[in-house]
Amino acid sequence: MDERDEETVAASLQEEEESVRRLLEMAGPRPLIQQEDLDAVSNAARSAWQTQVRRRAEAAAPRPERPFRALWMGLAAALAVAAGLAWWWLSRSGGAPPTVAWAEAVAGSVYVEEGTKAPRGIVKGEPISDGAVLRNDSGDEARASLRLAGGATVRLDVATRVRFVSAAALELERGGLYVDTGSRPRPRMAIEIRTPAGTVRDIGTQFAVRIDPKGTALLVRVRDGAIVAEHQGRTYLTHEGQELILRRDGTSQRREIAGHGAEWEWVLQAAPGFDIEGRSLGQFLDWVSRETGWRVRYADEGLQASAAGIVLHGSLGALRPDRAPFAILPGAGLEGRLEGGELIVRRLR
């Protein structure tokens, strides 16, 4: 491209920016649309779409039942598990560093760097060894979810670089992490996230940590439980529904936040799947609540009591936790309605 072409492109980009700026300023902020309205629309659309897909499939070619399909699938699954176990056993021998985490879900290009080895892309099920660095800073929308050896899960947002110091300590060098240390109180290791701008320790919780690109500010959002942040010799206790920003210049800022909504969107995008086959409705809704930050309320006590006895079958496929209840509940003769961060479950009328 010669100089004149470059000037033309630059002028065109500037013109485009100017026109977009003018339009947005003229229009002002978008009026808010209530999430429950969008959910209602989404549920109706999903139902219509599924009907349409089913009708087309039936019209295309009705296939005979295949009684051996389930058997073959079961055998294939058993073989896959056996192969995974054998590989894990072999990887433990030979003096390799201990495994501190496993990849639960990977979307896009996420790389691991181990010692002097060349970086390699990771896939679901991949073990992460002590001292390894995980990064997804190649510029695409890559995210990953990992389960630490102690049971907690850690999710990497885009453009993140983190070192697994142990199964309980991570050094966040760049980007953002989300940590879920589990809902039930049980003896386990506390998780520690070290950053250039301070250290965060959980006290049984779900929280997100992010550092700015220069490492001069640390942002912590607590969805559930509490964390303790250490910064320049001071400690900051932060509870659920709070956001804390700590800056290297010693200043701090705190504000109230919701446990659901835009701040947690990337966490939903990085969420691993949930196998509903054979699980109870109660277990499924516990998962939805934990992933979305919604409170689940049953419309009547009888329904709540029977939730543990309703067994689900099938698969969620690629459904996100915030969409899943609206697809699954009707199959159990129920419906969900979202009101101000509360998922109300009731019987279909």
């Binding site: 002002g28 978008r30 629309v41 109706a44 779409w49 009907t51 800073d137 980007g175 500010a217």
Partner: protein, 202 residues
Amino acid sequence: MEKVDHNEDLTLVERMLGGDENAFEAFGERYFRALYRFAAAKLAGDRDLTREIVQAALTKALAKLETYRGEASLLTWLCSCCRNEILMHFRQRRAAPTDVELGDELKPAAGLEPQGAGDPESVLLRRESAHRVHMALDELPAHYARALEWKYLDRLAVNDIAWRLGMRPKAAESLLTRARQAFKRSYESLQAGRDEEGPDHG
């Protein structure tokens, strides 16, 4: 007017017809909010009625999804289904649709009113234009729309936007460029749809 193809929309429709769950998710992300906003403006913000109309419009549109040929953008096609639903609703009730009202939230920021802002025609044009801007933003991936709003409404610096998005400033610059291009395409497509439908487009 330049002929625009809508291959991406056609591909999405094909995938949806094939039962692709991810395609349906993408369809919802891209269009539900914009369609709701389209109807809400026509129905003067009546929430219950808007919900009812959009649900009915989408149900019917999805039932005849295979008739979408890509002659207009998918959003324009959906808006056209929604518009029919609104007209049918009012015909059945033998009432005229409430005209679109300019709510307080749609008014431009103080000091940004152009010359002649007071005359009814200018107000109407600005209202329609603002409405299209909001729908075009709704159609974008959420992080694109958010980045554009942070930059041009909240006037955040690129470094702050980069931090909020969890990326490097250079990546945020690229994202903003892509977001602007996507916004312009969406806005122009909505504008073209409006021109094709004529003055009584809503």
